[in-house]
């Protein structure tokens, strides 16, 4: 089977991840319960004629994918695979509001066309004039991982040699106000938010896009190899350890073979117990957390993956990401574990490119 090399990455998030170094400048927001992604200059990537119709998710997706392709020196990939939990929320809300406001008449086409979940993948393809395989996975918090599984299978079975895969989700006013009502988002003004020592339920929400060029050949730009992705719809806390051990066994590994574990703690006191369980397997392994920097969204693991790839390439874990004080060198294998509210569990295994 062919190896899957990750040769280019592009990430837009609440941090300055788009250009520059590896979290050289960070902003830790401990007060807001919703925060936005930082915008690059979208006009550098999208024509003025096209940009005027695009909501933020589409713009983030196009810009992040362009950046990843440029870094990997790829003009047109063989396939574009997108993951999104909620799709183009802003246009969906606009369209639904127009239906209500206009009593089901006078419906304009733009927000309808752009409200479908596959808009991001479609617009990336249109922008590139890429006529290859184009697929969008909408699987909640494992949407990105579903896209990665597809990419892995296509590279391993030689269906494609160069794949652009990624995840994107945008914030939108009405949906997030409903999230607040049902307690998915933390209540405002409950004091500073501490993701590692949560005392309240709910998470801090945000948005972002992360795209990755996955290829069948190593390049000078290679970050790591994508070895395996595992997903599980639901688990009890008591089942987390066996879920991880089984995944590692399948890949002929033991917990001590992992040089860093990247955990998706989002500060929800009701569900972060899953991560406490996972930690017991990795007490002698450097532990990394990241959602205090990027917030929670269905494809927040794209930020986690971006982080893990930088850790493997640079062989360093910035202090702002360190969950414990354990160090290990060299860092050859990184495992990401994520779930959302006890559902959509995912494990992603990355290896150093030379391993």
């Amino acid at each position: 089977m062919k190896k899957c090399y990750i040769n280019g990455i592009g990430c837009i998030s609440a941090q300055k991840t788009f250009e520059g170094g590896f979290l050289d400048e960070v902003e830790v927001n401990t007060t807001d319960v919703i925060f936005s992604a930082k915008n690059p200059d979208y006009k550098a990537f999208i024509s003025p004629g096209a940009i005027r119709r695009m909501a933020k998710g589409v713009k983030m997706g196009i810009a992040a994918s362009q950046y990843a392709l440029k870094e990997a020196n790829v003009e047109i990939p063989d396939a574009i695979i997108t993951g999104t939990g909620m799709g183009c929320l802003q246009d969906s809300e606009k369209f639904l509001k127009a239906i209500i406001d206009n009593k089901e008449q006078f419906l304009t086409p733009t927000s309808f066309i752009q409200s479908t979940h596959n808009t991001v993948g479609a617009q990336i393809a249109l922008n590139l004039q890429c006529k290859g395989y184009n697929f969008t996975y909408v699987n909640g918090a494992i949407s990105l991982e579903s896209a990665l599984v597809d990419a892995l299978l296509q590279i391993e079975t030689r269906e494609a040699g160069t794949i652009l895969a990624g995840g994107v989700d945008e914030t939108s006013g009405h949906t997030l106000s409903l999230y607040e009502l049902i307690g998915l988002i933390k209540k405002k003004d409950q004091g500073p938010i501490d993701v590692l020592n949560p005392k309240t339920p709910g998470a801090v929400f945000s948005e972002g896009a992360g795209f990755f060029v996955i290829e069948n050949q190593k390049k000078s730009t290679t970050y790591a190899t994508l070895e395996a992705v595992g997903t599980q719809n639901t688990l009890q806390e008591s089942e987390v350890i066996s879920f991880i051990e089984n995944f590692l066994n399948t890949n002929n590994l033991k917990p001590q073979d992992i040089d860093a574990v990247v955990l998706g703690n989002n500060g929800d006191v009701a569900f972060d117990g899953y991560y406490n369980e996972a930690e017991t397997l990795f007490s002698n392994t450097p532990q990394v957390y990241y959602k205090h920097l990027c917030g929670e969204y269905n494809t927040a693991t794209s930020f986690g993956l971006w982080t893990a790839l930088h850790i493997l390439k640079k062989q360093e874990i910035p202090q702002i990401l360190q969950k414990n004080q354990v160090t290990k060198h060299p860092i050859n294998r990184v495992l990401l574990y994520n779930h959302y509210r006890g559902k959509d569990h995912s494990l992603t295994l990355l290896n150093h490119a030379d391993l």
Binding site: P48, G49, I51, R52, R53, N102, Q105, F106, L107, T108, P109, T110, I113
Partner: protein
Amino acid sequence: MENLKHELKTKIIEALNLEDIAIEDISDDDPLFGDGLGLDSIDALELIVLMDKDYGIKLTDPKEGKTIFQSINTMAAYITEHRSK
């Protein structure tokens, strides 16, 4: 008529998200499609909905659109003659 033209420009900029264009940038005789404002077929659908919603004009013959949507002047003239709102 001048008020209607001004109103149309405002509505078009808003409905079509013409972010970088101000009312002063649109001349009454500028072609809306092609070389002028550079609108496309999706914009044409938006304009048809705008005519129906705001002026009560239902365009049923697509050929009509070519003449009506030539410029702000032609739109304003057609609206003045056919509006029911």
